[in-house]
């Protein structure tokens, strides 16, 4: 049976979602593939603020941008390592993938590559108006995949 795909990111790391993924895996005797997406939105918005409002030069702004992303990567690695320990404890087979970029794009890409048939993912707290006007990453992912999705509210 294929692994369950657990989707995490810099802003989606709900313990509820993680627990749900491992419990489901154990129940169905499947493994877990943990995808960690380093969301580039926050560093990019800081870059814009520094250059537009702060009138800071491009180089120091870019250096900060890269530094923030590097930190997110370290955190991503650490999180995945923790999950690896959890997987060992629960005797669940475990695989990790770390990607940087747009959350929706990277999710879809990995779902396709891994041919995932079950995805577990966190839904962030947002107002319906915000979802309606600015769209929803989860709705877009859900539309474009065949696989089952379990969405856990933050």
């Amino acid at each position: 049976m294929k692994n369950i795909l657990l989707v995490l990111s810099t802003t989606r790391q709900s313990p509820k979602t993680i627990d749900a993924a491992f419990e489901k895996a154990k129940e169905e005797k499947r493994g877990v593939t943990a995808l960690f997406v380093l969301d580039s939105e926050m560093p990019e918005s800081i870059f814009e603020k520094l250059t537009d409002i702060g009138f800071t030069g491009e180089k120091p702004s870019q250096q900060l941008h890269d530094s923030i992303l590097a930190e997110y990567r370290v955190r991503g690695d650490r999180k995945l390592k923790d999950l690896g320990d959890m997987a060992r404890t629960m005797a669940v087979s475990f695989k990790t993938i770390i990607r940087e970029g747009d959350f929706t794009k990277e999710c879809l890409s990995v779902i396709g590559e891994e041919e995932a048939d079950f995805v577990i993912i966190t839904r962030k707290k947002r107002s319906s108006l915000s979802r309606f006007i600015f769209g929803s990453a989860l709705a877009e992912i859900n539309d474009k995949t065949h696989c089952k999705m379990l969405i856990i509210d933050e």
Partner: protein, 419 residues
């Protein structure tokens, strides 16, 4: 002519239902008066398959493709006659003036590589249908749809694919001669994730880059929905994934290749997904009337229209050389309620029913109004507007703008789709 003059000439006027006549002609075909057989033959030279009949224009600007070669056509109660340079359909005590769509010189032309146009393209109303390749893997797998011809029996083409340049020549010729203003590309089954749309991509891009037109495609549903996104982004304005049969058991029997390689469920999923991407009324699927019980077709109409998918109700035509050649054609009186229901279902779904115009091979939703007792004046007016130059330009402008707004991310260059 006044009613008195009509009576003197022996022409009987009765309440005329062009939709009914179209169904009658499409299902029963017509005989041709002996004196005009040769003349009519000229218009049939390049016809084949389900569009292998004579193209007529009935009153009300209703186009119909009428079988004449099949056995059932030779026994038709309707006959085409000519009197004082005018053509009439006679039968059941009636006589209706019609026009013949002449054989355009277009078909006589050859491409720069020497391929006759008629081997690659067919004109249907205002559309030029181009099949860049005669190949359909269902035939190779010995799992073709039971009611379908193998193209190669009729139109051998030496090369697997005609070139993009040849397609552009054909489109230019069709447009310049005012024979068409839109293009449909179709391709048989390909055993790949994209199911053939990738082969059509260069043609679509080239057409969009060189002509201000709408492009439809008729392909099999791809394995994943991201290909449907790409289909829209590459410049396709209308899409058809032909389900053919709604009843799953009959589908499995009559379309073994589609069932085995794709699956009925995938058809439904892909259509539903496409309906969320393409504009209203531009996602369609064939349902062949007469190959499954009427109740099943009606159920199919409801199922599809509720999802925003436009059913195309083609009338079963038993083609010579296929296993179903002896299957009886459906009766008009049995079909009429289906079309009445069809019109009401499309109307209820609020889908745009004015896209299809001058279609001869099936009854359009608007034409189906004749079976629901409705005038549909607004939709008819809209369709007439779409048929004008300005209306056509507005529609193309809208579709281009819609694509520009909706397609968020494109990594390759898509100048051809106006992005």
């Amino acid at each position: 002519m006044s009613k008195k003059e009509d009576a003197e000439k022996g022409i009987i006027n009765c309440p005329f239902n062009p939709g009914y006549l179209k169904l009658l002609l499409a299902s029963h075909g017509m005989r041709i008066e002996e004196s005009i057989v040769d003349e009519i033959e000229q218009t049939l030279k390049t016809r084949r398959g389900v569009s292998g009949g004579v193209e007529l224009i009935l009153p009300g600007d209703v186009w119909v493709n009428v079988p004449t070669e099949e056995d059932f056509a030779h026994a038709s109660p309707l006959t085409l006659v000519k009197e004082k340079k005018k053509f009439y359909i006679t039968g059941y005590g009636n006589r209706i003036e019609v026009s013949i769509v002449p054989q355009p010189a277009f078909y006589e032309k050859v491409t720069s590589r020497g391929t006759p146009y008629y081997q690659i393209a067919v004109l249907h109303g205002g559309e030029v249908h181009i099949t860049p390749t005669s190949r359909c893997s269902f035939f190779e797998l010995n799992a073709n749809c039971v009611f379908c011809h193998e193209r190669e029996k009729f139109l051998p083409i030496a090369r697997e694919f005609i070139t993009v340049e040849e397609v552009l020549e054909i489109v230019e010729a069709a447009f310049n001669d005012n024979l068409a203003d839109t293009v449909e590309l179709n391709i048989g089954y390909y055993d790949s994730e994209d199911r053939g749309i990738l082969h059509l991509e260069p043609y679509i891009k080239a057409i969009k880059r060189n002509f201000d037109t709408l492009v439809s495609v008729d392909v099999q549903p791809p394995a994943t929905n991201s290909w449907i996104d790409r289909t829209y982004a590459m410049g396709v304005d209308k899409i058809s994934y032909h389900m053919e049969i709604f009843d799953k058991a009959i589908f499995k029997n009559l379309c073994p290749g589609k069932e085995k390689e794709i699956g009925w469920q995938r058809f439904a999923e892909a259509l539903q997904y496409a309906a969320g991407i393409f504009p209203s009324g531009t996602v369609s699927t064939n349902l062949i009337v007469g190959l499954e019980p009427a109740a099943s077709t009606v159920k199919g109409i409801d199922y599809l229209t509720q999802m925003g998918i436009m059913p195309i109700l083609t009338i079963f035509r038993p083609l010579k050389g296929t296993p179903l050649q002896d299957t009886p054609v459906p009766e008009v009186d049995d079909m009429a309620p289906i079309f009445g229901h069809f019109y009401n279902a499309v109307k209820k779904s609020k889908m745009n029913m004015s896209w299809s115009k001058n279609v001869s091979t099936y009854l359009t939703p608007l034409e189906s109004r004749f079976f629901a007792g409705e005038d549909a004046r607004f939709q008819v007016v809209m369709q007439n507007i779409y048929k004008t130059k300005v209306g056509g330009k507005a529609v193309r402008g809208y579709t281009g703008l819609r694509r520009r707004l909706k397609v968020k991310e494109v990594e390759d260059s898509f100048e051809s789709s106006g992005l």
